[in-house]
Symmetry: C2
Subunit: 360 residues, 2 copies
């Protein structure tokens, strides 16, 4: 194994210091093009804020490694903090560490034993229809063809199989407007949403075991809003829920389960309504594909379930076997104190370098 | 009694059709100036969107009648609907009907037995520091001098004594941010606000009897907000409460009572905090003043407590005896279906015309 000279940790810090909140990944894409555009063994294509670098050696198999350029909004952690053995900062774990590994693999392994496709894409952290993968597919579907795909999402250097699906559910709560001084004449929609939040908070997620991996469901209120004026009993409040569901359920089954949970707190006559606003499909584990099985062998950890959603779902839905494998603790993703370790970065780099360098 | 030729109900409809949501009362003020500016018995002064018309006959007593030009935001009721016996539409009850009575009194009673001050002012429905009365007082305090004041707020043609105070309380709810797929790593501030809303909804208002009038307290959540991104467990949510309190409590006592109610649902270590953001003082009943006692005699109804806040508080705080007396059901104020009846308009006009025309 030959580690890149620059140092993966230092490169991660450099990437953290390029702000790239969803919809604003232009500078990060520029950086990728600057790093890979001139490499003789790569054909690099930019579409919007997405960059695809491919080899064309004519090998019988092609492996795609993908990572998203965007982060969630900052939380006082905009700047990278580089310590001896880890890098902190927005996106360090999710997933600028993974991008650093991809960049170094792409420019470091100039004669891979598999044909390689490296995909750096925008807008993974927002509604799926914004996804850079969809933008790339629309522009040129051939860019995304491969035998298997690895998403370099944070998995703490273990292979995480499949992914849970996501529903975004809008809950509209009604009421009756009145002057706040005579509140008993109205029905306060904000007070009523309190009862809905209570149901949501009481949700107990299923933990099904599928293909040897245990999934764990979740239901969270991610946005609340309501109010007309400071002296008016509001007749409208809005709740946005996110539901993570295991791959043994369809999106319709998952939505039905949430509707049943909320039903006792809702009143159709007051205008309450529940709507499925967006969804991303779950993906069952798929570790029997030879490239992914080889990756499991090369990684030091036991494979497990991917609890978050990831674009494993995108590739699985298109018949491409896919798994998650990257540096960084997935439990730290989107937290203010997220970080990635040198150890993880080097372990993931080493496993992927071997996978990419070994004819299969 | 001589009723105005144009008809109070028709004039109310005309006023409803002039949009005048708080901060946007320019056209309504123009209308008042056009109606009163040329009257020989009145000195009319405009300051901002506030208009004051005064007589200067040298009578020993001066009565001030005040009404606010602004309304709450529309609720599908922007246009006046004029029926045979009532007028519907935004502000019809609160308080364009009262403004119609004031306009007709001001131009109709050209030789009052008391000196008169008619005050049409802006921004009563928003934070008190925007109030047109404060703007007028700053520009020229003499404009607001009087022996007694009547607020032509909707009281269904009964004298409503004093007024309840108002607190605006901000409740900041903390949490711990995490990826929504691993929500057990974080603490959802929106879920936590559900418990606070529950406490608010369980509030039971005191109903003290003061000066023969029963008051009734209220506590309502008027705004809620929270959320970071659709895949993030939010670490922050905000609640705005309005508390109406009876005139036997100071603002500090009233605030303390709300803090005690909320305390069991709050956790300082998570960053929860309660702050008094704005307040308006309560005013005790003051019906023993001769002008107000005369008004009680002239009105057909038994006097009662004013449950909402009103600028009775402004005048009481400045040593001017004040009460509420106007057309329109106070229970309809700020509701989508508010209306005012011809009967109320004529009853209030008749009582005030007698009060204004009788030497005291």
């Amino acid at each position: 194994m030959s580690l890149p000279a620059a140092g993966l940790l230092e490169l991660t810090a450099k990437l953290v210091d390029i702000p790239s909140v969803s919809h604003d990944e232009g500078n990060a894409a520029d950086f990728v093009v600057a790093a890979l555009g001139a490499a003789g063994h790569l054909e690099t294509t930019r579409i919007g804020n997405n960059v695809v670098s491919r080899t064309h050696f004519g090998h019988p198999r092609r492996l795609l490694i993908a990572g998203h350029l965007d982060t969630v909004p900052p939380n006082g952690n905009e700047r990278a903090v580089l310590e001896a053995e880890r890098c902190l900062g927005l996106g360090s774990a999710d997933m600028k560490g993974g991008l650093a590994v991809m960049l170094e693999l792409a420019r470091g392994v100039v004669e891979p034993a598999l044909d390689m496709t490296y995909v750096f894409y925008a807008c993974e952290e927002v509604e799926q229809h914004y996804s850079g993968l969809i933008e790339l597919e629309k522009a040129d579907p051939a860019l995304l063809l491969a035998d298997a795909a690895v998403l370099a999402e944070p998995t703490a250097a273990a292979v995480e199989a499949g992914c849970q699906g996501v529903l975004r559910i809008g809950v509209h709560i009604g009421g009756e407007r009145a002057h706040a001084a005579r509140s008993w004449m109205g029905v306060n929609a904000s007070h009523r949403i309190g009862r809905v939040l209570e149901r949501v908070d009481e949700f107990v997620g299923r933990r099904p075991v599928i293909g040897g991996c245990e999934y764990r469901e979740a239901l969270q209120a991610v946005r609340i809003s309501g109010g007309v004026a400071n002296n008016v009993v509001p007749d409208e409040a809005k709740l946005v829920l996110t539901h993570r569901f295991a791959p043994d359920r369809t999106k319709d089954e998952a939505f039905e389960a949430v509707c049943e949970l909320l039903a006792p707190a809702l009143d159709i006559e007051l205008g309450d309504a529940v709507a499925l606003e967006d969804f991303a499909l779950a993906a069952a584990p798929n570790l029997d594909h030879p490239l992914l099985a080889a990756l499991v062998d090369l990684s030091a950890e036991t494979p497990r379930a991917k609890l978050g959603w990831s674009d494993v779902s995108f590739f699985t839905a298109r018949g491409i076997a896919a798994a998650n494998f990257g540096p960084g603790d997935p439990l730290l993703a989107h937290s203010a104190g997220e970080w990635v370790s040198r150890e993880d970065l080097e372990a993931v780099y080493a496993s992927l370098e071997k996978l990419v360098s070994t004819p299969l």
